[in-house]
């Protein structure tokens, strides 16, 4: 295959991985620190995308819309934490799964009531809609490059926040031993409301930037939520570093599998078999990856608790 195709797919995988990281980062901290499964995390991603699409219509500017969507989604996330999720910290995983599953149903219906069942149109901003020549003869969509840039920037900011600030220190303390952190005076309750807001904001960023590439529709949060869970389970729950490694791994494996597996199979098998089996294998590749990782390292690659 031509090298330009290969580079393009690697960039696509990298870009998808970075967006997955934005989703997984909030999820892994919530799970690691409060031991709480939040299936409704994907719903915040959906809300972020819907808010962006609406605000683009109102303000006419993509960047203003993203800013508004991030703030709005963060607010909704904090409200959710204060009203429902706070009740769930001390409950078992089953209750958490069920309650947040109920939240998905509720949020999906509310979105349907407000915006209707039809997918919304969220187009790439005018200035970024064209391709850019990144290497001689290799063109790549400008918007996807911007996504990579934004993803890297947010990831760096998050690493700085977690590893270099006092709030980050509290978060890490909470992730490795919650009771001890609380006993040492870490203000867990407000910290967690804040964390939830930040996580929701990150979801909104992912929703705003993936919206133009995928689709802004009801249920968009659920398929990507499962991917985000795969990411944090591979990376190790509670570890930001694990989330980044897991996200890039899943992004690259998924994209590369879809692009190259059917091609590879067509060399060794009949076209019939390849056209059937290729997409099938590609779509289960990341789950296979997760099962293999868990088989050898039941705590994920970078376990946060020791």
């Amino acid at each position: 295959m031509p090298p330009s195709l290969f580079i393009e797919q690697v960039l696509n995988g990298f870009q998808f991985g970075l967006m997955l990281f934005l989703l997984a980062a909030g999820l892994t901290l919530v799970l690691g620190i409060m031991d709480t499964i939040n299936l409704a995390h994907g719903s915040l991603y959906m809300i972020g995308a819907y808010l962006t699409a609406t605000l683009v219509g109102v303000t006419g500017s993509f960047w203003l819309a993203v800013l508004g969507a991030v703030l709005g989604t963060a607010l909704i996330g904090m409200l959710l934490e204060l009203s429902v999720l706070r009740q769930l910290y001390r409950r078992d995983h089953l209750s958490q799964v069920l309650a947040t599953f109920a939240l998905i149903l509720i949020i999906n219906e509310v979105v349907r009531m407000i915006w209707g069942s039809q997918p919304l149109l969220l187009s790439t901003p005018e200035a970024l809609s064209g391709p850019v020549e990144i290497l001689p003869g290799l063109y790549y969509p400008a918007f996807r490059l911007v996504i990579i840039g934004v993803g890297l920037l947010v990831a760096l900011l998050l690493f700085w926040l977690v590893n270099r600030t006092r709030v980050g220190m509290w978060l890490r303390a909470g992730a490795s031993n919650r009771e001890m952190a609380q006993a040492m005076g870490v203000p867990i309750k407000p910290l967690f409301t804040l964390l939830f807001g930040v996580g929701a904001g990150l979801c909104a960023i992912a929703g705003a930037f993936l919206g133009p590439i995928l689709a802004v529709q009801i249920g968009m949060g659920e398929s990507i939520l499962i991917l985000a869970f795969v990411v944090i389970v591979i990376g190790g729950i509670g570890s930001i570093k694990g989330a980044l490694v897991g996200a890039l791994l899943v992004g690259l494996v998924d994209t590369a599998g879809r692009a190259f597996l059917p091609l590879l199979l067509s060399r060794v098998a009949s076209p019939e078999v390849a056209s059937n089996l290729g997409p099938a294998l590609a779509s289960i590749l990341i789950y296979l990856l997760m099962a293999v990782v868990l088989f050898f390292r039941p705590q994920g690659l970078f376990p946060a608790r020791t």
Binding site: L31, D35, I37, V84, Q87, R91, H93, L94, S95, V97, L98, A99, F101, A102, L103, I104, L105, I106, N108, E109, V110, R112, M113, E222, I226, F229, V230, V233, I237, N276, P279, A280, S283, I284, Y287, L288, M290, A291, L294, F295, P298, Q299, G300
Partner: protein
């Protein structure tokens, strides 16, 4: 006098089809069939979820596999109902053995997620085979059973019979030594291990049995709708079954049956009232989880 209520209930269930036919209420016979199928699936999940403490988020895999086995075998020319049943249950048990053997190495959140991941694999595998319908699902004609012709009414009685047999089996099981050990493991795995019980084997046997029963429920579902839908395999279906179990009561013997009955009825009523019925289901579920953690069976027990 404890036997009066069950006997009356059973009598009513047995007498329902002719009464329904006489009064033009065939719709409710179908609804009852569907409820009994979900009761079977939810009860099988309750065995591992409630009694075993294994929060499997992938029960839809066996449910859907059962349904797809019917559809695919019928399409490939296998028309004997008994053969189809045996293959479907065997395949479901085999799948559960495979998934259980790997998943039971993990605990907690990791277990929830790996069972979910396996179910997703099955989902994507099945929908990617275009000759078996892909995303559209596959028609599942009703097979031949020789002794009787499978129609809506015989299916009703067949489902009732299977459900009763499965409930009897589960009742004997959870009250046997096996069931007590399973519950001991749920309460304190380290102690059960220290007492010398082969924890992994006990859990795996329960996991396989639950998978086989869910597969059987899927077979009945395919007979009922005459169609194998990818929705049966979707992760929302796993959530739906979990919803039934927690609504009815986790680890309460009648939890699965009660949950399937109440949730199906609530869905049916809300669907008549509004297109936004899922909002109602979500709110009720949220309320149950937050304020009645032991489910309806727990509420009733507390009331009496």
């Amino acid at each position: 006098m404890r036997w009066i209520f069950p006997t009356v209930l059973l009598g009513l269930l047995l007498a329902f089809p002719p009464i329904a036919a006489a009064m033009g209420l065939e719709f409710y016979q179908g609804l009852l069939t569907k409820i009994m199928i979900f009761a079977l699936a939810a009860s099988s999940l309750n065995l591992i979820l409630g009694y075993g403490g294994m929060v499997s988020f992938g029960h839809a895999a066996y449910f859907g596999l059962g349904a797809y086995t019917v559809a695919i075998l019928m399409r490939e020319g296998v028309t004997s109902g008994w053969v189809i049943w045996a293959v479907a249950v065997g395949l479901s048990a085999l799948l559960a053995l495979l998934i259980g053997a790997i998943s039971l190495r993990t605990r907690g959140i990791y277990f929830i997620m790996i069972t979910l991941a396996f179910a997703q694999m099955i989902y994507y595998l099945v929908v990617s085979f275009k000759q078996y319908g892909g995303e559209d699902g596959l028609r599942a004609r009703r097979p031949e059973f020789g002794l009787f012709e499978l129609n809506d009414t015989t299916l009703y009685y067949l489902t009732l019979g299977v459900l009763l047999a499965a409930l009897y089996l589960l009742y004997r099981l959870v009250h046997s030594r096996f069931g007590r050990v399973l519950q001991a493991i749920r309460e304190n795995e380290a102690r059960a291990l220290a007492l010398g019980y082969p924890v992994f084997h006990f859990q795996l046997v329960a996991f396989v049995l639950a998978g086989a029963l869910a597969g059987l429920a899927g077979v009945l579902m395919a007979h009922y709708t005459q169609y194998a839908s990818p929705n049966l395999l979707a992760w929302q279906q796993s959530g739906h079954l979990m919803m039934m179990v927690i609504l009815g009561g986790v680890g309460q013997f009648w939890g699965g049956v009660l949950g399937a009955l109440v949730l199906s009825l609530v869905e049916e009523i809300l669907q008549d009232l509004t297109i936004h019925w899922q909002l109602g289901v979500g709110l009720i579920l949220l309320f149950i989880v937050l304020f009645a953690p032991k489910g309806l069976a727990g509420l009733m027990r507390r009331g009496s």
